[in-house]
Amino acid sequence: MKAMSYLLITQLKNRILSIKKKPAMLILYGVILIVIVGSLISMLVFDQEMQMPSFADERIMYLILTGFGLLYLYIFTTSGLSTGSTLFSMADVGLLFVAPITSKKILAYGLISSMGKALLTAVFILYQVVNLRVQFGYGIKEIMALFIIYAILVLISQLLSIAIYIFSNGNPLRKNLVKTVLYTAIAAFVIVVLVIQQKEQLGVLEAAFKMVDSKWFEYIPVVGWMIMFFKGVVDGVLIYVLLSLTFFLVMGILIISLLTIGSADYYEDVLLSTEVTYQTLQAAKEGRRVQRSSNRKIKVRIEDDGMIKGSGAITLFYKHILEMKRSSKFIFIDGYTIVVAIGVGIAGYNLKSSEAAYAILVVIIYLQFFLTLFGRLKMELLKPYIYLIPEKSIKKVVAASMTSLLKPCVDAICIFTVLTVVGGADPMTSIFLALAYSAAGAVFVGITILYQRVLKGQPNRFVQVFLGMSLLIAVMAPAIIASAIAAYLLPDSLLFLCTLPFTIFCSLFAFLMFLACGNLIDKSEFTGKL
């Protein structure tokens, strides 16, 4: 175990020491620490003085825990059915797996390091200290309980994923069995909620509250045990705390036994998942999106022949169209379009007011911003070809951005058609909202180019992000203010025009940004990274 403990301690030590060389990280960690400690202290100091009129229904927390638990179990179970999860890194595979160390010791190392990482990721709960205090009246005890629950959930989910992979890998029958169990379990939750709703004539949400608060639910594996543990801590019932921890422990031991008993060789089983995880992490570092599931095979169809057209820079556009077609059959209409259109349809149907339509626009423009962050141009900058193609920079920038400019237009047509048909929004309002959405998309693409052109050379990531956000605000603010003024001045009959100033401003800014930064390719460096 000497090598294992050496590896764990040295990695931890070096990680801490490396912060010294990254002042920005040091400041960030310092700020995080100050925020967390400050929150805890203020909670302790003012705990007695704070007299909240009332706290939120605690069953909301049980429902959040159940939702989180189910989400994690679903994600890790489906990953177990494809490539499995992993406790190891590629360095572990290359150096540890081939070393003369027993596989059990290596597994223990994997578990410990994974647990450490899970605890680190659970730090985000501590950010919520004030929020949890204000909303639910929770103190340190309850927050620490949530912290522990999250860490356990992550570890158990990872183990479960590995176990499912080992159990079902290469065996379609077993895969189907796992899928059946998974979907039956999800269906069971829904059915139980509906039964309670019908039986007790309650709303759906109230029925869900009743389910997660019931005694029997605490014995449901993982999600129920999480609630049992939490209730035990909150109510100070030690037996609940111990019982739930025992359940988790037994489950963990059973899974680890599956990994280690007999001649079970988990090396081969975790190898693929480790490689996939490594590729995903590398892709994430480079800003690429990667096919996480190996189940989905991209088909190269005969009709794809000749899809790359044009000559010179415009070829980039046709290449993007082909790439998009390989990702989504309907090219511009992808999962995002469908999910957002459904969401907007539901929201529009339930809210049915003109104010709601504008609120929806704000929300989907916000979502769109994140979609544009990793646009096609940015992906193109990760390969040398765009730099090498013998064409003017502006032509290449426009060609490589074209699909990113068109996608919001197609999305806008789909989304606002749904809002009009399902949500009953005024067609004229929808048309102008769609124009505003498309123009916002153009601004985001422009901002990406401006960001690459102006801030790419800035070595400090935080300064980059700060200045990037400032740029965005500086560009968007006049457009928003112009529309707000228009909304104030326009008579009710012409109110649908109130987004027009926003659209005009955004289009103008986007045009100017393209014009000013058209020399991006000539002026920037190829680093292979974002």
Partner: protein, 234 residues
């Protein structure tokens, strides 16, 4: 054909290339030698117009970032950079169209056949092994028939057949009058066909020799390389 004049490239305080100058003529195979971190890949990337630098680089008399220079340039990176969602055949078509090439199909076929990719035209970039990716990357670089070819560690990851084909291709392109710059630290791989060499150390050109000079002076390239890179240790 290629003229590198006083090129300096800095990454913050680190000087990756320090006042590097050299020339390569038509029909010349020049080799950049040097240990890891000597600045070979950096100068190659500067020549390819991928990095900013101070100094001047001219390709066929044109400033290296100009469109005219790009037309005459072929670059094969150290790490193959392919599109996951494009097939082998589509990569060739993309390059042909991006460079506005005419009558490229026959040559594309020949290149793919030579590198044993002819039967893999329908394979996506993401489905290729590392070696096959490297072969396709070479094909993409060669397809526009550039007058100047830049190879950054081209033999890494290739199988013996591909290495043989690549060596043949390099010699063929030289005979056609192309200038070729190869960055490597594998001396054996270029011993048969190099014409001139620049040995880099700590971002500078530490020595330059032609094949004639070496052959005429009884000097040994390998010994010279180790003398420069390891000093008295050898």
């Amino acid at each position: 054909m290629l003229s590198v004049r006083g090129v300096t490239k800095k990454y913050g305080k680190l000087i990756a290339n320090d006042d590097v100058s050299f020339e390569i003529n038509s029909g010349e195979i020049s080799v950049l030698l040097g240990p890891n971190g000597a600045g070979k890949s950096t100068i190659i990337k500067c020549i390819a117009g991928l990095l900013k630098f101070s100094g001047n680089i001219y390709i066929c008399g044109n400033e290296n970032k100009s469109i005219l220079a790009k037309r005459d340039l072929g670059y094969i990176p150290e790490v193959p950079a392919l599109y996951d969602m494009l097939t082998v055949g589509e990569h060739m078509e993309f390059i042909a169209r991006a460079y506005s090439l005419d009558n490229w199909k026959e040559q594309a076929e020949q290149l793919l056949e030579r590198f044993e990719l002819g039967d893999k035209k329908k394979k996506l970039g993401s489905e290729l092994s590392k070696g096959m990716q490297q072969k396709l990357s070479i094909c993409c670089g060669l397809l526009p028939n550039p007058k100047l070819l830049l190879f950054d560690e081209p033999m890494v990851g290739l199988d013996p057949h591909a290495i043989k084909e690549l060596k043949n291709l390099i010699v063929e392109r030289k005979q056609e009058g192309n200038a070729i710059l190869i960055s490597t630290h594998m001396l054996d791989s270029i011993s048969e066909f190099w014409d001139s060499t620049n040995i880099m150390m700590d971002g500078r050109i530490a020595a330059r020799r032609t094949r004639k000079e070496i052959e005429g002076s009884q000097e040994n390239l390998e010994a010279l390389f180790f003398h420069i890179t390891e000093g008295d240790k050898t």
